[in-house]
């Protein structure tokens, strides 16, 4: 996984660039990592036999987004924004380097794993780059807002 800071910045930029509800897009950008609940069981050395694996698949995320969106008045819009954020998450995770395997993008129809092994999750330059791009984008937006106010 890229770190959550990178995911959140990607979600924030996407939300701002598409003039969407940034709070929901950013929340959606971390949605697939609900799967990290698995780490609690790993720490307790309890084998969950892949029970939580579907949470980090597009199909599982779609269902979670659907459930969460029902907690909002405009459920349809909330669902779209949450999924928009989740998409940025999968896009970033797609480039992660591993010895083997990847993400089960077509689960439950296929167990085949997909990944383009380009970036190491330990590479902090990804986070630094995301922070720089986020900062440039923020100042660009601020400049545009000030221009409109004048």
């Amino acid at each position: 996984m890229p770190d959550w800071t990178t995911h959140v910045i990607a979600g924030w930029i996407t939300g701002k660039a598409t003039k969407s509800d940034v709070s929901l897009v950013v929340a959606g950008s971390l949605l697939p990592d609900i799967f990290k609940i698995q780490m609690l069981f790993d720490a307790l050395q309890i084998n969950t036999h892949g029970f939580f694996d579907p949470l980090h698949t597009p199909c599982g995320t779609l269902l979670i987004a659907l459930m969460l969106s029902l907690l909002f008045k405009m459920a349809g819009r909330a669902f779209i924004f949450l999924m928009m954020g989740a998409s940025t998450h999968y896009l970033l995770d797609f480039f992660l380097m591993h010895a083997a395997g990847g993400m089960k993008m077509l689960f439950p129809f296929s167990w085949k794993e997909y990944q383009i092994h380009i970036i190491s999750s330990g590479n902090y330059w990804v986070t630094v780059s995301a922070l720089i791009i986020g900062a440039i984008f923020y100042f660009y937006l601020t400049a545009i807002c000030q221009k409109h106010l004048k």
Partner: protein, 149 residues
């Protein structure tokens, strides 16, 4: 309508998770299953992740980061791995506790810890962004927009 959709999505998600739990060993066996049934995987390609515990000239001993959390000796690994590093291995199983590595991916101990440290600032940021705009109404059991957000 909302309740029907909620029930359907909860049932669908639990079904997916149960399906994954049941079929996991057949379709995507974990190390617990592989090491319990080594005869099925002897000479076959497997992949796993572990933390380096001992570094010897001819092999490294990895503590599995998944069940059964035991140690596996990995041969055919290039030097440069240090104790505590997280190592992903794609290799061939030879017996119950030995793997001949074909491909290895190493994340240094410090780099691995930094992933979690770098993730921490994201949590308050997300909570701030979210609760700046939304507040939960327990009576309606729904999020409502905060006025003047």
């Amino acid at each position: 309508m909302r309740r029907i959709v909620a029930v359907i999505s909860v049932v669908a998600l639990l079904s997916l998770m149960t399906y994954s739990y049941i079929e996991h060993d057949k379709k995507d066996p974990d190390m617990d299953y592989i090491l319990t049934n080594p005869e099925k995987f002897e000479g076959k390609e497997i992949d796993f992740c572990g933390r380096a515990e001992e570094i010897e000239p001819s092999f490294i001993k990895l503590r599995l980061m998944e069940a059964p959390y035991t140690c596996i000796n990995v041969t055919g690994v290039h030097s440069g791995i240090k104790k505590g590093d997280v190592v992903e291995v794609l290799g061939t199983l030879k017996g119950v506790d030995e793997v001949k590595a074909e491909k290895v991916f190493v994340i240094k101990k410090l780099e691995y810890s930094l992933i979690f440290i770098r993730s921490l600032p994201a949590i308050p940021f997300v909570l701030y962004l979210f609760f700046k705009k939304w507040r939960f109404n327990f009576k309606k059991f729904m999020f409502e927009e905060v006025e003047n957000a």
